[in-house]
Point group: C2
Chain length 330, copies 2
């Protein structure tokens, strides 16, 4: 774990390990900790899909984000994980921790943001809990039903599979760097960077189409960054991954050129982007592309575990580090 960028991340992983060891599963647990969602067996060959993701004000909110955008993003982060599994949310819950300093208008904006996301992804938020907290907290839990074989886990990648992604990377990390390190005002961000930071979208329709194509062997969303997602697929599937091409967004390339960042690093080690990162049976790659209606791009291939996660460059392969975006410490 020497490649982790901060003690904080190390801490988070350790905490997750402690939780995994203590909590865990019973005989009805189909998927426990360690994938995008959890799943428990129901009576009739189906599984209940459960997902929770918490947004915390002090670490998860970029400067200038409205309460409506914050609340919307809290839902998007959860929907994205179901999208990566090929599963449509049936209903959701929202638990709120609200600082006493919030105004009525803030609460209305939070409600509007939650509502607009639920409408966009076509499920109801049917219940919740409201609390006072020193740190704005929006904890969403989603619920769905699926057939077990319908779930695309992180663990199904096989040697020779195509590694593919649903979009280009780097706009969010470029936008965040502009905001946090270059003092750029939100209104001055180039449009793709603004949208990536403030109005992210979950690829739900795409995930459902890809899932039902039968072409995928593994899938994850890229919310912790492309590099992190690749490492997760590698870990969960027990395989290596060789990337031949890092798809960098034009906005990220321009930002990188102007401010002398490595564009490829912005794309690899970003985060807060909700693309899908999948592995595809090679003989079904065209089928997957058709299901994705042009939104799927091959970026590499699944290799032996011992090869690790590597990037092929003109001068030879380099290791892809297991690191991602650090949250917005204030």
């Amino acid at each position: 774990m020497g490649e982790l960028t901060s003690l904080r991340q190390l801490g988070e992983l350790r905490i997750i390990r402690i939780m995994e060891r203590s909590l865990g599963t019973n005989r009805n647990t189909v998927v426990g900790f360690g994938d995008d969602v959890s799943a428990v067996k129901l009576a009739d060959g189906k599984v209940a899909i459960l997902k929770t993701d918490m947004l915390v004000g002090s670490t998860d909110i970029p400067p200038g984000m409205t309460m409506r955008q914050v609340a919307r993003k809290a839902v998007v982060a959860n929907v994205s994980d179901l999208a990566a599994k090929g599963v449509r949310p049936l209903a959701g819950l929202v638990a709120l921790g609200l600082p006493a300093t919030l105004k009525r208008k803030d609460v209305q904006e939070i409600a509007a943001g939650l509502s607009s996301a639920a409408i966009q992804y076509q499920f109801p938020l049917v219940g919740g809990d409201t609390n006072e907290s020193n740190d704005l907290t929006i904890s969403i839990a989603l619920f769905a039903i699926a057939r077990k074989e319908q779930l695309i886990l992180r663990s199904g990648a096989r040697i020779g599979d195509v590694v593919a992604v649903s979009g280009e990377f780097g706009s969010a990390s470029a936008g965040l760097k502009a905001l946090l390190q270059h003092g750029t005002r939100p209104a001055k961000l180039p449009r793709p960077m603004y949208q990536a930071v403030y109005n992210p979208r979950a690829e739900l329709d795409l995930g459902l189409r890809l899932g039902s194509s039968g072409a995928l062997t593994a899938s994850i969303d890229s919310s912790d960054g492309l590099a992190w997602s690749l490492h997760e697929l590698s870990r969960a599937s027990g395989v290596g991954i060789r990337i031949d091409h890092v798809p960098v967004s034009k906005a990220a390339e321009q930002f990188a050129a102007r401010h002398r960042y490595g564009a490829r690093d912005l794309a690899l080690y970003g985060g807060e982007e909700y693309c899908l990162v999948v592995t595809v049976k090679p003989e079904k790659f065209r089928l997957a592309q058709k299901a994705a209606r042009g939104k799927l791009k091959a970026i590499g291939v699944v290799t032996r575990k011992s090869a690790g996660v590597r990037l092929r460059l003109a001068g030879g392969d380099v290791k892809v580090a297991m690191k991602g975006w650090e949250h917005f410490r204030r």
Copy 2:
């Protein structure tokens, strides 16, 4: 709403109304906001039961509570709501917001507390999310499956039903007053008060037995206080309630006598106690008592809505105020 004890409570109610108006339901929503749990329709005459309740460090933790007790209580609060509906939890999720100041041991204690509660109530915690936060936050979401007619809602009470409770009240509020207002050290609390504050239990077995007895018409847990629960049954069922007897715990009576509190007020306007408050068809009250194995005590009767929630005293009836325990502001 002039009877509310604080602007803060008023705020919380208003916030809940804003959320209810904005979020809400679709055609598959069987129970939305406004009951102990939510429920959505599944394919086969069954419903999925969803519940979330968030524990926040700065407002929900009595002084002297260990991290293990805190985490256990976060689960108990959620299980209690399912207990009141007569439904057994199938699986749970836990989203954590952890202050950076927490030690590894604290995290292990939280994991142990979550785990011990999940084992006690026989369901797995199958997934979660870990975050850094300025305020310790434990957000639990529970999931269950039930037949729709199995759910005991808040809304089924009918005029003439017996109002009954599963225990005595006041130990928790007496304990909290001792800790917060009289500087009593936790170890010096009388045992029943200590247990009520630090090791509360959810009445899951009792709730399941009462639920399947077919004798209940409505049910709620008493986590916001007995008075609040009675008002909620009254509101949701569109009825009045007349209480003939407030069951005060011996510990609360002794504490009240020593410190010149009204024992009845401690019992009515407490909270953080996880008893069941139910209404029972009068002809099935003995059946319910049998199902409860002696733990069910009649305290009143369901009346016309216009009569409100009242307490019969020797000198005549008095109104029961719609107020509950105020959280532990620091």
